[in-house]
Amino acid sequence: DAGVTQSPTHLIKTRGQQVTLRCSPKSGHDTVSWYQQALGQGPQFIFQYYEEEERQRGNFPDRFSGHQFPNYSSELNVNALLLGDSALYLCASSLAVAGGLSEQFFGPGTRLTVL
């Protein structure tokens, strides 16, 4: 049983470019959350997808968008990249249960460097 997988592992882009990151949740999970972790900081919540819809969003600009597919996998898109977007992007998967979510499992992350 594969855990949460993310691709690519590393990515280098230049300012102004666009990037797409991918996440496949743990088998049996239906909810995907995305986090941004800058160097030396804790992860910051970007948004969460459930049933192919964004149902909660953190304090991130509209340049950050996402999508969830029928197989529960998800993409994170960032447009007009800024230097400050350089970070580790983490995907966390969980299962929606009565009263909330099951434990969240994090993927290995995608390290994005913007030059």
Binding site: S33, Y35, G42, P43, Q48, N59, L101, Q104, F105, F106
Partner: protein
Amino acid sequence: GQQVMQIPQYQHVQEGEDFTTYCNSSTTLSNIQWYKQRPGGHPVFLIQLVKSGEVKKQKRLTFQFGEAKKNSSLHITATQATDVGTYFCALRGSTLGRLYFGRGTQLTVWP
């Protein structure tokens, strides 16, 4: 937004010494979770505390939730090289499960 403050930011200990990290909030917390992130790795869930005064143990790790549910601590007894990493506390907000992370305590263990 909800915030949890974590101290210290860095801790260097000699192998065999104890280690403690603290997580504080100005408001009452419904729960607190603890994660460990190894260097170059991703956060791994350790435990969740929900009850006032709760104490849970995992081998050499002891987790506590304050009586007022405004603070929590993680204590490691007799640290080992395998304990190296950053320890985060996180509040799980609302029923949608979004996590609010502290800044983390980076633990270095010297031989």
